[in-house]
Symmetry: C2
Subunit: 220 residues, 2 copies
DNA sequence: ACCTGAACACCGTTCAAGT
DNA sequence: ACCTGAACACCGTTCAAGT
């Protein structure tokens, strides 16, 4: 079992505490999925669970600790993207695309992982697995560290940005570029219809460029 | 002249309005530089300028519009990194590193640019110049668009993340990794001392990998 | 035309009080 | 041990009133 479920045995007859860390984390995910991450306030959590808005402070030191625990829980799904076939490029590519899809489903998640005060438990598992994929592919430790850090930064940062700008009408940007004076912005007005058409495609192109370059540097 | 200074002639004898868009933008930059971006509140702006906290609404529709105008102003410095020597790789590299340094100096800037409702004027100038560097280097329009989008996403997203995690004690992360059980996290515990040592170096390695891959794809 | 000031509808967090 | 409820110190924004 990957995650310790400290309150898994809470289905006893005794009343016990009405709240638990897991119950609060579940509510966070439910509210964020339904109404976006900004809807997760302590007052909203209280009304969702029929409990006082300040009750969360009996289980977490502050809101940020609850949000980090929620991020860690969401990463459980990311671990399912790990597989090791011996082909480091294919394995890395599959894992990255799977992790990205989770980041896109949960805006703010990647940001939270990167700025967490301590590494999240499931992120550590994910990082260990990714390092393992490179090591199994024949990278020495220094090579593996560089490949891992660059790939992780690209995946985390670009997906985080894409999640934040999702549905932000890239159509409006293209129109704005096309409407600029052509003499002052010759390249931008000309290329306008081709710009920001598909962020997923752009991510995948960048990823393949990166993996190809890592491959070339490794063979050299 | 790159930026229209609509209130540049405000040094007349008549009293005129006490506030202007430029005065508010200046105050934003001053406060953010001194106390961080979170210190920029409407009440803080009011006390800084000796004016009512709600006076900003006479010059901007809402706070976000003021912050976008501030971001646009900060990008004036980014335009100084543009040069065209004919060597697209060297020119791109120099521009990217210059732009990154500005993003790092102003946390939240890259995020604001990416999520702005409309493209910022100086960002459009920067994008046009970057597309021009690739076109001058012999890229056709489709190649230039891909190279531009991938490079821009990498620079914007990774620098934005690095600005947010600056001084977030990567030392603590390394210690946390080193303290994990070695049997469960074999690669992470072993590589711990080498991880997250220098984000600037990691950014530069990733950029060079990307540019090398773009070069290889272009020659092919 | 520009600015004020009170008010509104929110936030996260603390702390004494209840059970 | 756990939860409540009032209170504190903030937010961005609206709007009638001033000059």
């Amino acid at each position: 079992m990957l995650v310790r479920m400290s309150d898994a045995a809470a289905t006893t007859a005794e009343p016990g505490p009405r709240l638990s860390r897991d119950v609060l984390i579940d509510a966070c995910i439910r509210i964020a999925d339904a109404e976006g991450p900004d809807a997760v306030t302590l007052r909203r959590l209280g009304s969702e669970l029929g409990v006082d808005p300040t009750a969360v402070y009996r289980h977490f030191r502050h809101k940020e600790e609850l949000l980090e625990a929620t991020a860690d829980r969401l990463l459980v799904a990311a671990l399912e993207g790990v597989r090791s076939t011996g082909d480091w490029k294919a394995d890395t590519r599959a894992l990255v695309m799977h992790v990205r899809s989770i980041y896109l489903q949960h805006p703010g998640l990647a940001q939270r992982i990167a700025t967490a005060s301590n590494p999240l438990a499931n992120e550590a598992r994910l990082s260990d697995a990714t390092l393992g994929i490179f090591r199994d592919g024949g990278f020495d430790e220094d090579e593996a560290v560089t490949a891992f850090e660059v790939t992780e930064a690209y995946t985390l940062a670009v997906s985080s940005m894409d999640a934040a700008t999702r549905d932000e009408s890239s159509e409006a940007w293209r129109r704005a570029f096309a409407a600029l004076p052509a003499d002052e912005y010759p390249h931008l007005t000309s290329a306008a219809p081709k710009l920001y058409v598909d962020p997923d495609d752009r991510f995948e192109r960048g990823l393949d460029l990166l993996l190809d370059a890592i491959d070339a540097a490794h063979r050299r």
